[in-house]
Amino acid sequence: MIYSLLVLAAPTSGHASLTAARFAQAVVARGHQLKRVFFLDDGALTGLAGTITPQDEASALAQWQQLGANHEVELILCISSALKRGVLDATEAERYERNTATMHPDFELGGLGLLVEAMQTSDRLITFGQ
């Protein structure tokens, strides 16, 4: 089956984001296609490049990054959620005249249309709340 995920949880609010990342790994491990993970609302903080996690704690950023790299999963941050939270790629940093990009390069910014398209083309959409 084709799966997509909607993540509303910030990477720092409890371990909801880690739970979602583990679920994503399990989706792939069971032979499904994980098409897209859409990060909305506080979930968009997941793509903040400068996140530092203590060495003895699991990093949500690292988990999602691995998933994106190993399984070609699209990691999309809702652009308006991301901008509000200071997560900018180079294009948006220039557009809004900020001196630096803050988004991790494994993520992409995109509109809610990409969530809608994921719903249209996926058999399952699983939401992970804050």
Binding site: L8, D41, G113, L115, V116, M119, Q120, T127
Partner: protein, 123 residues
């Protein structure tokens, strides 16, 4: 997305306007679903019904007036909007305070909505 059958979407919005951006995100998700021509149903449930309070004046607060955004839903053909009747009663939201396209529905009808759509977005 031109030729395949459209997946239907139920957006459930359960958070009040203050203290959470989820209400706004739920409305955005519904509006964009409609823009991309997915059949979308909107259900205000639990504390989410508080988003429907009329006479919100958000000027001083400097935030979006959700009731006004909700008034634009018919222009996106998102109509009617469904409202958890028990929650509306709990918060003294009589029918005449609600937007004209609101329909108060029972728990059973809400369960039916959950079963009737291809995807559910729970906010």
């Amino acid at each position: 997305m031109a030729t395949t059958a459209r997946k239907s979407v139920l957006v459930v919005t359960r958070h009040a306007h203050q203290g959470s951006a989820l209400g706004r995100s739920a409305l955005d998700a519904a509006l964009v679903s409609a823009t991309f021509e997915l059949p979308v149903t909107l259900l205000f449930q639990g504390q989410g019904v508080l988003q429907l309070l009329p006479e919100q004046d958000c000027t001083e607060a400097g935030i979006r007036n959700l009731r006004k955004v909700i008034e634009s839903l018919p222009l996106y053909d998102i109509t009617p909007i469904y409202v958890d009747a028990a929650a509306a009663a709990r918060y003294a939201l009589q029918a005449e305070l609600l937007p004209p396209q609101a329909q108060l529905i029972s728990l059973d009808r809400q369960r039916q909505l959950l079963a009737d759509h291809d995807h559910i977005l729970g906010f």
